[in-house]
């Protein structure tokens, strides 16, 4: 079977920092793939490489027919971790803005949006400004926005992060429904239980390297463990590195200037207490 999305020997570095190292990954049609890893593991970088926001330092990210992802972004629907909604636009205006840029007719986008909005139970809020939306409402709106143009692959970066139990459940149900309708979803999460519940295939990412890739059952067999949590721990024993943002470089002048106004701490640990 031909993969829908193919990462070939992908390497991504930011200056001296290696964010992703030699990743080979095929995403096949009609599946839900979970990217699981801790903070700074490289999940978001991988998703950004898949969505074409980042260009690989080495290797290639291609969609079917070997076309670079940057040339075929219309087949993707992306929900970043921040949701990225404009607060002074209504939910529908946010959705319409993206669907128009995808070249989709407003009526078609509205029909799709309304169908999914009913499933997510926010059909009554589509004409409200997103300014006052809760985290859950924002996440659902971002999902609708990613779905309005009918993407072949949906890339979700921690879609249930910060959501209440009911909202998280609704999002997971939607993901399963999309899969049942023949869709493909790549889903990044911290939570193994969630990945086990939603995903057909789990990819464990650690320090920018894919440590394991398979169904939950295959991961248990690979690690000779009885639970996914144990499997995850055995695969990620190496100390996690800090997040990319924390390793970001500051210019020499800025660093020197900051040091001038950073008093040195003279506190010492008192062992007797």
């Amino acid at each position: 079977m031909e993969p829908l999305l193919c990462l070939k020997d992908v390497k991504k570095s930011f200056g001296d920092v290696q964010a992703i190292e030699h990743v080979n990954l095929n995403i096949y049609k009609n599946s839900v793939i979970g990217l699981v890893g801790g903070n700074g593991a490289g999940k978001t970088t991988l998703l950004r490489l898949m969505s074409g926001v980042y260009r690989p330092t080495e290797g290639s990210v291609n969609l079917d027919n070997d076309r670079p992802v940057t040339e075929m972004r219309s087949v993707l629907g992306v929900v970043p971790e921040s949701t990225g909604l404009y607060s002074k636009l209504t939910a529908w205006e946010n959705i319409r803005y993206h669907s128009r840029l995808h070249g989709i007719d407003d009526q078609l986008a509205w029909n799709r949006t309304y169908r999914f909005a009913k499933l997510l139970d926010i059909d009554g809020s589509l004409h409200r400004y997103t300014e006052g939306f809760s985290r859950g409402m924002k996440q659902k709106t971002a999902l609708l926005r990613a779905l309005a143009h009918g993407p072949q692959i949906l890339l979700l970066d921690e879609p249930t992060g910060g959501l209440d139990v009911t909202s998280a459940r609704t999002v997971r149900k939607l993901v399963r429904k999309l899969k049942d309708e023949g869709g493909t979803v790549v889903y990044s999460t911290h939570h193994l239980a969630e990945a086990q519940q939603v995903c057909d295939r789990i990819i464990i990412v650690h320090n920018g390297i894919i440590q394991a890739d398979g169904t939950p059952k295959e991961l248990l067999e690979l690690t000779q463990t009885s639970t996914l949590e144990e499997a995850y721990v055995s695969l990620t024993r190496e100390t996690a590195r800090p997040r990319m943002e924390e390793t970001e470089k500051t210019s020499k002048i800025s660093a020197m200037w900051r040091r001038l106004f950073t008093p040195s701490s003279s506190l010492e640990v008192n062992e007797d207490e």
């Binding site: 930011f14 992306v78 949701t83 990225g84 993206h98 943002e245």
Partner: protein, 404 residues
């Protein structure tokens, strides 16, 4: 879908979002529209009212003189002044020496003190006053008016008594006819001259200041709000994104500049409708004017978008763009002082200055081909460079992750 459509979609969304903030409407529409009418119309009205109020006030004047004429005292009293007369104080070095009278002015016992003394045929005088008091200044001004008139009468009397004609002695050289008739410039040309001082100034200042907020909001602001990442994953090139945002900032700034120039023209027309006409400009000059404005807007806004996108945070972008906006005043001031009759060619090679100088020349309907060629060439190069720089910033991979 073609590129032009995508650029327009981005620009439209940016404008809608910007306009939905009521504070923006105040800053974008009301302030530019009302600024000059307020300065030119309301301000003088307020000043006139204040002056009229002061005029109605009665001032207290102390006259210190041993030989002042009663007619002069009556003239001062006719200026709504209450007068008190007393003898000239002794032991003064000069009449301006306030001596023991300082406190009388400071505690407002009197608003002004007039001292007069005749030595031979000449009258010497001094008016003591407190310059920090409006009422004291008013009293001084009224006394001066009376003294000037009194001096004129005295001069006339003395000329007459010498057997001379007063008018020809006092005004031996005089203008014949009206001054305005002697100016060969048409009213349209005069209007162009006046506007050439104002319009480049307003255009440059308002473009530089009005573009700051939207430039920051649409670049680093978008990054801070987390909306940039989803935008970059759309089938939209970064150049299209830059052009869409540029178009939005240009539109917003253009509305502000147009409204401010409308307000300026309305103010000028209100104040000087009798001697100002519509500037007489050829079609070619108007086209070149539009080109100069387009160059200036392109350069400034592309530079702002680039610098804002390069910044790590909204705060940093503000710190970078504020001094640049202030620095933009320099070329504007320079162009105001350059003599257009004898302008050296090198001025037209200096970016920003050249476009503003070009605008001044064109408003005077002066199309000097060599000048036009130089500023068009230099501005085209600078426009290209600023757009390239902006495109480079928009193409940076870290634009979604750079945080303060």
């Amino acid at each position: 879908m073609n590129s032009r459509k995508r650029i327009i979609i981005v620009a439209k969304k940016e404008i809608i979002e910007f306009v939905r903030d009521w504070r923006t409407i105040v800053a974008l529409v009301l302030i530019p529209l009302l600024l000059f009418p307020l300065l030119f119309i309301a301000f003088p009205i307020v000043m006139q009212n204040e002056a009229a109020e002061l005029n109605e006030k009665t001032v207290h004047v102390l006259i210190q003189s041993d030989e002042i004429e009663t007619s002069l005292i009556m003239e001062i009293e006719n200026q709504s002044a209450l007068t008190t007369t007393e003898a000239m104080p002794a032991n003064l070095l000069t009449l301006s020496d306030s001596g023991n009278d300082t406190e009388r002015l400071r505690n407002m016992e009197y608003d002004a003190i007039l001292r007069m003394e005749q030595r031979n045929d000449t009258w010497y005088y001094a008016i003591l006053h407190l310059s920090t008091s409006e009422q004291s200044n008013e009293a001084r001004s009224r006394i001066l008016d009376v003294l000037i008139q009194w001096e004129e009468n005295l001069t006339s009397e003395r000329i007459e008594s010498a057997g001379l004609d007063v008018d020809s002695t006092l005004n031996p050289v005089r203008w014949d006819g009206t001054i305005a008739d002697a100016d060969v410039a048409t009213k349209g040309e005069q209007a162009g001259m006046l506007l050439s001082l104002f319009i480049p100034f307003v255009l440059a200042i308002w473009t530089a200041s009005a573009a700051v907020q939207p430039s920051i909001d649409m670049t680093v602001g978008e990054r801070e709000r987390g909306t940039l990442e989803s935008l970059l994953s759309l089938p939209l090139s970064r150049s299209e994104l830059l052009l869409g945002k540029w178009l939005a900032v240009v539109s917003i700034t253009a509305v502000g500049v147009t409204l401010q120039i409308t307000g300026l023209l309305f103010g000028i027309a209100y104040l000087a409708s009798d001697f100002i006409d519509v500037p007489s400009l050829s079609i070619f000059a108007i086209l070149l004017l539009a080109l100069a404005v387009a160059f200036y807007g392109t350069m400034v806004i592309a530079l702002y978008l680039a610098l804002a996108m390069r910044s790590k945070s909204v705060k940093e972008a503000g710190s970078v763009l504020t001094p640049i906006t202030l620095a933009m005043i320099m070329p504007i001031l320079l162009t105001q002082f350059i003599n257009l009759d004898d302008v050296e060619m090198f001025w037209f090679g200096i970016p920003f200055v050249n476009v503003l100088l070009g605008l001044r020349e064109l408003l005077l309907n002066r199309i000097i081909i060599e000048h036009v060629l130089v500023w068009v060439l230099v501005s085209s190069i600078v426009c290209f460079m600023t757009i390239r720089y902006a495109a480079k910033q928009f193409n940076r991979e870290d634009i979604i992750t750079t945080k303060s």
